[in-house]
């Protein structure tokens, strides 16, 4: 397929790997791939085999399902138990553990939970079930936020009254700010998410090389993209000139996608948000503005328990995995008690989760 196959060419990947070996510095180098899709792609194509032994890739917090809190899952379960509710969700939310249950188990016990590919499908479902309350679990980063916002705008335009959104949308730069400010992290470079950047552009990352002296490169998701991204970071390390480089020029513009940014701003406002494993990060979430409160499940269904926090005690180390402090295989549960069939933590559930990728391509 055009614009995919070319970026998977073996001969060019070998060349890129050679250049990486040439550019490598004589010490350990730790690069964090912030986005879960990078993690998947990196392992799927076996890129680790091409890289110098002293170059280490760490996974970051860029998997929206993984950073959704237990409380959010508990809220969804509470809603799903109501007879008049049909809950809609992206597929990988189903098995994320809440405090006592997950959505898959609730569905087996009779709750109506349906999987969607696109937020837009929720409108057709709402039209088809006027007697039900349709609630969409809107989870994601800046790439998903405008798709949710547009769906909400269309819901209003079509005067649909039975479609609501339980949102847990997050933004990447504040989470990166939190990570790079943590002295324990100790990374030499960041591979930045291609699709999030296609929306927000390059400027929101400028503080990373400027204030923290960490080299960055926005990269696409094919093998050549990732290898070129790594190469760019190594070159920045060599020259001691950290910047925000853009490898994904075929998609990412400096200003991002202004139209998408406007759509997000019309429906959402920034708010503090809780990230599983990372805790509360100021200004890292998006909440629905007052103008769209009619569609906000948190406002419309006061049954949702607020602030009730129940600890679920396991030895799961997803929190540390998401912060890049440990690799999945350093968790005691990995591939033993915790597998994709029996996930204990969210990083093993999602397709974009680091533990899932490490398990699948062991």
């Amino acid at each position: 397929m055009k614009y995919i196959d070319e970026f998977r060419r073996k001969d060019l990947a070998r060349k890129a790997a050679e250049k990486i070996h040439e550019a490598m510095v004589p010490r350990q180098v730790r690069i964090m791939e912030v986005c879960g899709t990078h993690t998947q792609s990196f392992h799927r194509f076996g890129l680790a085999n091409l890289l110098p032994a002293q170059l280490h890739m760490l996974s970051g917090p860029g998997c929206p399902v993984c950073v959704s809190t237990q409380r959010y899952i508990d809220q969804a379960i509470t809603l799903a138990k109501h007879k008049e509710v049909i809950l809609l969700t992206f597929g990988d939310m189903l098995r994320v553990p809440g405090t006592h249950s997950n959505l898959e188990k609730e569905r087996a016990q009779g709750a109506r939970v349906q999987i969607l590919y696109s937020a837009l499908e929720s409108l057709a479902i709402a039209h088809a079930h006027p007697d039900k309350k349709i609630i969409f679990l809107a989870v994601g980063f800046e790439t998903t936020a405008p798709t949710i916002a547009l769906t909400m705008i269309r819901t209003r335009e079509q005067r649909v009254k039975n479609l609501f959104f339980l949102t847990s949308l997050k933004t990447m730069p504040p989470a990166l700010q939190y990570l790079v400010s943590d002295a324990r992290l100790n990374v030499d470079g960041l591979l930045l998410p291609g699709h999030v950047s296609s929306i927000i552009g390059m400027n929101p990352y400028a503080f990373i090389p400027k204030e923290h002296k960490i080299p960055c490169c926005i990269a696409g998701f094919e093998p050549l993209d990732i290898l070129e991204g790594i190469l760019s970071i190594l070159q920045q390390i060599r020259r001691s000139k950290p910047c925000v480089a853009n490898q994904y020029v075929r998609v990412v513009r400096r200003q991002g996608n202004p139209r998408a940014q406007k759509i997000i701003a019309r429906v959402f406002r920034r708010c503090d948000a809780e990230w599983r494993g990372l805790g509360n990060i100021p200004k890292s979430g998006l909440r629905i503005t007052q103008d769209f409160f009619d569609f906000d499940a948190e406002k419309v269904f006061p049954v949702i328990e607020k602030g009730k926090k129940l600890a679920r005690h396991t030895q799961c180390r997803c929190g540390d995995v998401l912060k890049g402090l440990v690799l999945p295989k350093e968790c005691r549960l990995f591939a033993k008690a915790c597998t994709p069939d029996h996930p204990i933590g969210p990083c093993m559930v999602s397709y974009e989760g680091a533990c899932n990728a490490y398990f699948k391509y062991r």
């Binding site: 397929m1 060019l12 060349k15 590919y117 790439t143 405008p146 929306i199 998609v251």
Partner: protein
């Protein structure tokens, strides 16, 4: 995904032998023959063919 047909706020796109309808409200001007980056049923960006070549040429 390659644009085959335009219909208001939506476009029919082709990927491999699969044809799908995607929303294009986030992009200012979409033409038949453009390649789009699609996320969950919405086109979020347009692929720049010249820039794609540049990226490949860096390694060739």
């Amino acid at each position: 995904m390659k644009v085959k047909k335009l219909a208001g706020e939506f476009a029919e796109v082709e990927t491999g032998r699969l044809i799908r309808t995607v929303n294009i409200q986030m992009l200012p001007s979409v033409k038949v023959g453009d390649y789009l980056l699609v996320h969950a049923g919405f086109a979020i960006g347009k692929i720049d063919p010249g820039k794609a070549q540049e990226t490949l040429a860096l390694l060739q």
